[in-house]
């Protein structure tokens, strides 16, 4: 418990640094949201009036203070473009992002861990070489290209899945799942490649340990032996899976763009392009908090795999 509290306390300075850096970076970069809102034919006077109305004419320190004050009271602010509260924008985006993250990592773990273990068990064989070739290809081919190929094959040529869009799970669970098949395969390929290689390397190392040799010498079957090996190889794999989930929650812009899924990644990119300051600031801060939290959970999970680890 002491460790948990210390770790949680350590997140505060991290969040403070993130808040300051994000605020300064976006406010000091060139660009004016008021000019974009006012439109191409707007006069300089129109833009100046809008800057005043949006509070963008205030000194930076004052804008920062106002933002922090609102944040302290739980108010994430309001988009200066849509006038929609950031909380509401995030609520719209979090379901698609979480859906993609969870399904992608489930698919990844279901495929990569057995595949990597199999490659380690048959190290040097044609199976191992085939798995590694697949891993290299999946990691090397750009995500957008794989996305286009998946769309062409499984949405246009064989119209099994939709090209684009997201259906909320509450509206239609079948359509929700159907719409996520291609984006999740698209994203999972990279993670499958990464975790397959990671699993292969760690399991291979464990398989050379004395206790594995002893277990095999005692006549233990293949699966129980691999089970022991996997448990001992699980820490680095869990770390990679955890970081993968954090990255996915932070947003996967390319896949979200190719499949037109309204996730957090696109929200951030669109807000950056438009200089929608309240949205960028709040979403990045929350993403950073999620990242820190997931890292903490990963650390805590180590004890599940290895009881010798003590905090």
């Amino acid at each position: 418990m002491g460790y948990l509290l210390r770790r949680l306390a350590a997140t505060l300075p991290v969040m403070a640094v993130v808040a300051v850096v994000v605020f300064l970076l976006i406010h000091l970069s060139p660009g004016d949201p008021a000019a974009l809102i006012a439109g191409d034919l707007a006069t300089a006077d129109d833009i100046a009036r809008l800057r005043v109305a949006l509070g963008l004419d205030q000194p930076l320190w004052r804008q920062f203070g106002l933002w922090l004050g609102r944040l302290a009271s739980g108010d994430l602010g309001t988009s200066i473009f849509t006038q929609v509260p950031v909380r509401e924008l995030l609520a719209q985006r979090i379901e698609p992002t979480l859906s993609i993250a969870v399904l992608t990592m489930a698919l990844t773990v279901a495929v990569a861990v057995p595949l990597g273990t199999l490659a380690a068990w048959r190290a040097g064989s044609w199976i191992d070489r085939a798995v590694m070739l697949f891993a290299v290809l999946a990691f090397s081919v750009p995500v957008f290209l794989v996305g286009y190929l998946l769309i062409f094959a499984f949405a246009v040529h064989w119209p099994w899945f939709p090209v684009q869009g997201y259906t909320r799970i509450a509206d239609d669970p079948a359509a929700w799942l159907r719409g996520l098949v291609l984006p999740c395969i698209n994203l999972a390929l990279v993670y499958i490649a990464l975790i397959t290689r990671m699993t292969r390397a760690t399991v291979l190392e464990v398989l050379h340990e004395d206790y594995i040799r002893t277990a095999r010498a005692k006549g233990l079957g293949v699966l129980p032996v691999l089970g022991h090996a996997l448990r001992n190889a699980a820490v680095p794999i869990a770390t990679t899976v955890g970081v993968g989930i954090a990255l996915l929650i932070g947003g996967v812009v390319v896949t979200e763009t190719v499949f037109a899924i309204p996730g957090v990644g696109r929200l951030v990119v669109e807000s950056v392009q438009r200089h929608d300051y309240p949205v960028i600031q709040s979403v990045l801060l929350i993403s950073a908090a999620v990242y820190v939290l997931i890292n903490l959970l990963i650390d805590l999970s180590y004890r599940l795999f290895d009881p010798r680890i003590v905090y």
Partner: protein
């Protein structure tokens, strides 16, 4: 493997529930972010306005203003007194009746923002109610464009809002949406950055005339219209080919030729656009009309629009008018010396203008493909006549901020940026704000030419068609001398529709008259 494939097929077979309503899915040209068309001139917000609001008059497909919300109107012989009566039964989507108070408040809001509205104010316009359904306009002096103004299709169209909304401050966008137009905005399904949904307005009272342009009946055939924002063009086109969407409002030019070969898709014109090279006329070298003429002389319009990717049949090789070829004010007055790009002559004009190699800071947008091409062509054109171009690449948001700066170019200001404008924003001396070059304007570039300003004012006042034409010609001749901006060519934007969509030939000028469509 077979089992996996079977699972995939089963999953694929679990299709969505059949559509219960007749839905039109449109890939919009941009994401609708601002729901107040009286606040911004962004085309997507204007289009949003046309979905949910209505106008007193509207242009038909010939560009003639026709009554829309107005039932009857009369004008005095001297054109200084106008009486209007609204059609009976008009109501906003909350059920409240549209009254003359709503109309007058909306027009007053519009007059504070729009060029034509401001011109009406300058002519002494005064609106007064005449009962709940009638209203009058009195003018201190004749004004030749009253009906054109009330049916203005772009820039800030004079949309009719409830009085309560029309009286809100104009310094920030309205967030409430309440109109009397053909559709109702479904806010609870709005996902900014992804989707905007409109439902047929059950209380809309259509005209009995057939639809034409933005005029006539706006009774929609579809119960529901979805605007989807698909930022990836490849995915949008795959969705169209697959039939997931019915219409792509603006097709990237690279895709026009390949889609023409697809029997399931039809391509049409999404309205005419004109390229603009906007010059900062507060600083050298573009504070000199000779230098501006030199750039105009060097521009090959066809090369600009070709570089932007438009095929031959969708671009005008040379358009001699500033007011849109094929538009109601097309004229070639004054164009003769500039018909052909002539580098030698441009160099001579540059020398006559006393150009001494001053750096020209050109703002190049990196994130909008066709504007990037236009800017690179501008750089190449100016370099070809010996100008010292400093092309600075940045995103459009940064250009938006930079172009408002009045600082010297070497101190963070600028000399030139590029843009495009739709036909309705350039097709007359009043709609083409840059060409009017009113002194004291705060338009970026700060064009100023008293003669143009005076000619424009005279053209607006004139009510005799022949005299108006003479003034129009004089205006354009002067524009070729003063060059408030450089016309970088005219092209047609393209839309792509599923072949089973009916009446796509009635879509007009890039405006969202989707009520003409059926399936």
């Amino acid at each position: 493997m077979k089992r996996s494939l079977a699972c995939l097929l089963m999953l694929a077979a679990a299709t969505a529930a059949p559509a219960q309503t007749k839905t039109l899915k449109v890939v919009a040209h941009a994401d609708v972010k601002i729901l107040d068309p009286t606040f911004t001139t962004a085309y997507i917000s204007r289009n949003f306005g046309y979905m949910v609001y209505d106008t007193l008059f509207a242009q038909d497909a010939n560009g003639t203003p026709k009554p829309q919300m107005v039932d009857k109107w009369t004008t005095s012989k001297d054109g200084k007194l106008w009486n209007f009566t609204l059609r009976p039964g008009l109501k906003f989507s909350d059920g409240s009746a549209v009254t003359s108070a709503d109309v007058i408040a909306s027009l007053q809001r519009w007059q504070s923002r729009d060029n034509l509205g401001k011109a009406l104010v300058a002519a002494g316009a005064e609106w007064k109610p005449a009962g709940a359904q009638g209203f009058t306009l009195t003018l201190a002096e004749p004004f030749g464009m009253v009906l054109d103004a009330l049916g203005k299709p772009s820039g800030f169209p004079p949309l009719i809002l409830p009085e309560r909304l029309a009286k809100l401050p104009t310094n920030a966008p309205m967030t409430e949406v309440l109109g009397s137009g053909p559709f109702v905005f479904k806010r609870d399904e709005w996902v900014p950055g992804n989707k905007a949904v409109f439902l047929r307005n059950p209380g809309y009272v259509p005209r009995s005339d057939a639809p034409s342009g933005m005029a006539g009946s706006k009774k929609p055939a579809f119960d529901r219209v979805e605007w989807l924002y698909l930022p990836d063009a490849n995915s949008a086109i795959a969705a169209l080919k697959r039939g997931e969407v019915d219409l792509i409002e603006q097709l990237p030019p690279d895709y026009i030729a390949p889609l023409r070969a697809d029997a399931n898709v039809k391509i049409g014109s999404g309205g005419s656009y004109q390229g603009f090279l906007v010059m900062n006329q507060s600083f050298p070298p573009f504070n000199n009309a000779k230098v501006r003429q030199a750039v105009l002389q060097a521009v090959s319009q066809d090369r600009f629009t070709a570089a932007m990717g438009y095929p031959l049949d969708m671009r005008v090789t040379y358009c001699a008018t500033w007011f849109i070829c094929g538009g109601p004010n097309e004229t070639d007055a004054g164009a003769e010396p500039f018909r052909k790009a002539d580098v030698a002559k441009a160099k001579q004009l540059l020398a006559e203008g006393g150009y001494k190699g001053e750096k020209v800071v050109l703002l190049v947008p990196s994130d909008i493909t066709y504007l990037n091409a236009e800017a690179l062509m501008a750089a190449q054109t100016m370099r070809s006549i010996g100008m010292n171009v400093d092309a600075q690449t940045m995103d459009w948001a940064s250009i938006g901020a930079r172009r408002a700066k009045k600082d010297a170019p070497e101190a963070g200001g600028w000399n030139m940026y590029v843009t495009v404008a739709g036909q309705f924003d350039v097709n007359s001396p009043i709609n083409n704000a840059y060409l009017g070059a009113p002194c004291g304007t705060s338009l970026p570039g700060w064009p100023c030419d008293k003669q143009l300003d005076e000619l424009r004012a005279a053209w607006i006042k004139e009510t005799v068609p022949a005299k108006r034409k003479q003034l129009l010609d004089a205006f354009q001749r002067r524009a070729f001398e003063a060059v408030p901006y450089v016309n970088a060519g005219q092209y047609s934007a393209a839309f792509a529709a599923r072949a089973n969509l009916k009446n796509i030939d009635k879509l007009w000028g890039g405006l969202p008259n989707v009520w003409v469509l059926d399936r």
